[in-house]
């Protein structure tokens, strides 16, 4: 196995006094694609949000190392600049903040943090246009507010567009496949697939295995009751699809 990029140890997280993640351990090696699956309410989205730095959660105990750093002590914007990207399950609409400006500001924040010069405006636009083409996004997108009036599918494409432009070291994609029709799913999956590289790690958080027919994961983990109850190769996803999550829960209890 490759060097770990992200190591989660004994992570226990609560919201309003209720424990959501309970002693979770997970290691994501450099250059691999992992899938995190689990029934609704198992804590998948909580994990994604906690890793991205959302502050409404209480970290009860545990540790997360990201590229050798203590991730939980870093504010959200610093995590993003260090190369962590969260693709939101429900991307928020921000009317009045232009899509392209946000994207440019995000890219420049990252570049500045790494000691690189700000991106040239002309080159930036060319880059965005190229990635938009890949995501089959309409030109009108350039002038619109962030996710403003976007359909569910357009919002997800926009998340992947940001991912393609920002080229993070670790991409956590929370239910990116939900709400997509078959054509959009293929576009999104193809977009993610282009990012697959030896120096990039991707965590696909998903309820169903259908995204995994387009993107083959190196490992599959099952989250239930706030911790990883089972890990395996890609065939685990197929087995889950056939047997359902009750099977995993039952097995977890036995184990």
């Amino acid at each position: 196995m490759n060097q770990p990029l992200l190591t989660i140890s004994d992570l226990t997280v609560a919201v309003d006094g209720k424990t959501i993640l309970n002693g979770l351990n997970l290691e994501l090696p450099v250059g691999e694609v992992h899938a995190l699956m689990g029934p609704n309410g198992s804590g998948k989205s909580t994990l994604a949000q906690v890793l991205a730095g959302r502050s409404d959660y209480t970290i009860v105990r545990g540790q997360v190392r990201f590229m050798g750093r203590d991730l939980l002590s870093m504010p959200a914007e610093e995590r993003a600049r260090a190369g962590l990207f969260l693709g939101f399950q429900y991307p928020v609409e921000i009317p009045g903040v232009n899509n392209v400006y946000l994207l440019k500001a995000a890219l420049n924040a990252q570049r500045t943090a790494r000691g690189l010069p700000e991106v040239d405006a002309f080159e930036f636009l060319a880059l965005v246009r190229e990635k938009m083409k890949l995501m089959r996004m309409d030109e009108s997108f350039l002038g619109r507010g962030v996710n403003e009036g976007f359909s569910g599918g357009e919002k997800k494409r926009n998340e992947i567009l940001q991912l393609l432009v920002l080229e993070p070291t670790l991409a956590i994609l929370d239910e990116t496949d939900s709400g997509l029709d078959i054509d959009a799913l293929q576009v999104v999956a193809a977009g993610i697939e282009t990012l697959r590289r030896a120096d990039r790690t991707i965590l696909l958080v998903t309820h169903y295995q259908r995204l995994l027919t387009h993107i083959t994961p190196d490992r599959v983990h099952v989250l239930a009751d706030g911790r990883i109850v089972m890990s395996g190769d890609r065939t685990l996803a197929l087995e889950l699809e056939q047997r359902g999550y009750d099977w995993v829960k039952a097995r977890a209890k036995v184990a």
């Binding site: 959200a76 914007e77 993003a80 921000i94 903040v97 500001a105 995000a106 924040a109 920002l166």
Partner: protein, 444 residues
């Protein structure tokens, strides 16, 4: 020249008026009009906290301030200080008024187009007192008209603008400068568009330097059939001054008024609007942006009356209060009996940027006719934590993220300004007054 209390002990105004009476234009007729207006004001008294639209006004604050009676001669204006606060509008005709009195040296010579007539009200008062009298009726008993009474009681000068039928005016920039410490001014603005005329007018009220000033302006807008006017009121009294403004508009058949009010923070900045949709098919878009910072108190009031059929109004209020700023929005829409097929929309959104900030928003709909479409909505809150987190998760620092969201909150109203150059300059002014807005200059 002695000092008089501004708003308490209204009696002091009688003395103040007598002191300047002989120097004001309009002869014995106008001496009588001013006296009548003042006596009426003294009889009715100043509004109190019991009057709905004066409920939140810190009257005590007013009573502590002392302002000198307005005089008909302009004070010298510091041109470089003025330049800093001047909007740069290409192709616009600019008229500068110091404490309500025209300053020809700082104003454009040429009118903004053929069919556009601009006169100084002071000259008209001297030349044709009766004619002016006929155009400025005595205000009624409504508490909201007390300011108009005070304005009339000290009427010295102002701007009288008429756009002839079918004519189109280049932008007209009326700049009212309050200067000299403890000075009062009562500017009067008349804007009349005849049938089918079109114009864009900017009315700006500013205070120069650190002066403590009191400005009480009254604006009368009349739109003839099919006239189209975009009217912008920008009031920036600053932390030590008071700006009170009354805008009244009468809209004729199929006329359209796009009105923006941008009220910056001040010791007190209060702007009231009364719009009467008198003609069939008349339409008003009334946008108001309010910024209350420091210990500032800013109020936007409006009463829009649908008086006949097929009239349309859309009112949008956006208020931002920071530090210990206090804002008030009081918006009343009345659909009178017989105003069939009228449409009215009102939205009020307030953003509070600190624990001590406060905005009171009172949208009111009075529908006295059945066949109408009306909607309104009001929200007050802080920045949306989901939006904030989304921006942070993209690497934007928290201060810039907050600034972006404040700007975004205002954007749907700012976007309605029809003049890009003007919009850009207002955005920069807004940037300068809100926390961390300088961080998003590149976005503007």
């Amino acid at each position: 020249m002695s000092s008089v209390p501004a708003l308490d002990g209204l009696q002091a105004y009688r003395e103040a008026q007598q002191r300047v009476a002989a120097r004001l234009p309009g002869g014995t007729l106008w001496h009588a009009v001013r006296t009548e207006a003042l006596e009426r004001l003294l009889q009715l008294g100043w509004p109190t906290a019991r009057d709905e639209s004066w409920k939140y006004v810190p009257l005590r604050l007013l009573e502590k301030r002392v302002f000198e009676a307005p005089v008909p001669e302009p004070l010298p204006v510091d041109a470089s200080a003025l330049a800093q606060q001047t909007l740069n509008l290409e192709g616009a005709s600019r008229l500068v008024f110091a404490n309500g009195i025209p300053v020809p040296a700082l104003s454009s010579a040429a009118p903004p187009g053929s069919g556009v007539r601009i006169a100084a009200l002071g000259e008209e008062l001297a030349r044709a007192p009766e004619w002016v009298r006929a155009r400025l009726p005595m205000p009624g008993d409504d508490p909201d008209e007390r300011l108009a009474l005070l304005n009339l009681a000290f009427l010295a000068d102002g701007a009288d603008v008429r756009i002839e039928a079918g004519a189109t005016s280049a932008p007209l920039y009326l700049q009212f400068v309050a200067c000299g410490n403890h000075r009062a001014s009562h500017p009067r603005i008349l804007v009349e568009l005849e049938a089918g005329a079109r114009a864009r007018v900017i009315e700006q009220h500013i205070t120069l330097g650190e002066a403590e000033t009191f400005s009480n302006s009254v604006t009368d807008i009349r739109l003839g059939p099919n006239a189209q006017l975009e009217y912008l009121v920008v009031a920036e009294p600053g932390p030590r001054s008071l700006a009170l403004g009354s805008v009244r508009a009468a809209l004729g058949t199929e006329s359209r008024l796009l009105l923006h009010r941008v009220l910056f923070t001040g010791l007190l900045n209060r702007c009231s609007l009364r719009a009467d949709l008198d003609g069939r098919g008349a339409a008003i878009d009334a946008n108001a942006l309010l910024f209350a910072a420091g210990r500032g108190h800013v109020e936007a009031h409006s009463v829009i009356r649908h008086r006949t059929t097929d009239t349309r109004s859309a009112e949008r209020f956006r208020g931002v209060a920071s530090e210990r700023g206090r804002g008030v929005f009081n918006g009343r829409i009345v659909v009178e009996p017989g105003a069939a097929r009228s449409e009215s929309q009102q939205s009020s959104r307030s953003l509070l940027l600190s624990e001590s900030a406060e905005i009171d928003s009172r949208p009111q709909l009075e529908i006295l006719h059945n066949d109408v479409k009306c909607s309104h909505g009001a929200t007050t809150g802080q920045l949306d934590p989901n939006m904030l987190f989304y921006l942070l998760s993209r690497g934007i620092d928290p201060r810039t993220a907050r600034a972006l969201l404040i700007y975004a909150f205002l954007d749907d109203v700012l976007a309605r300004l029809g003049h890009p150059q003007l919009r850009q300059q207002l955005e920069r002014r807004i940037s300068a007054t809100l926390p961390d807005q300088q961080r998003i200059e590149e976005f503007l």
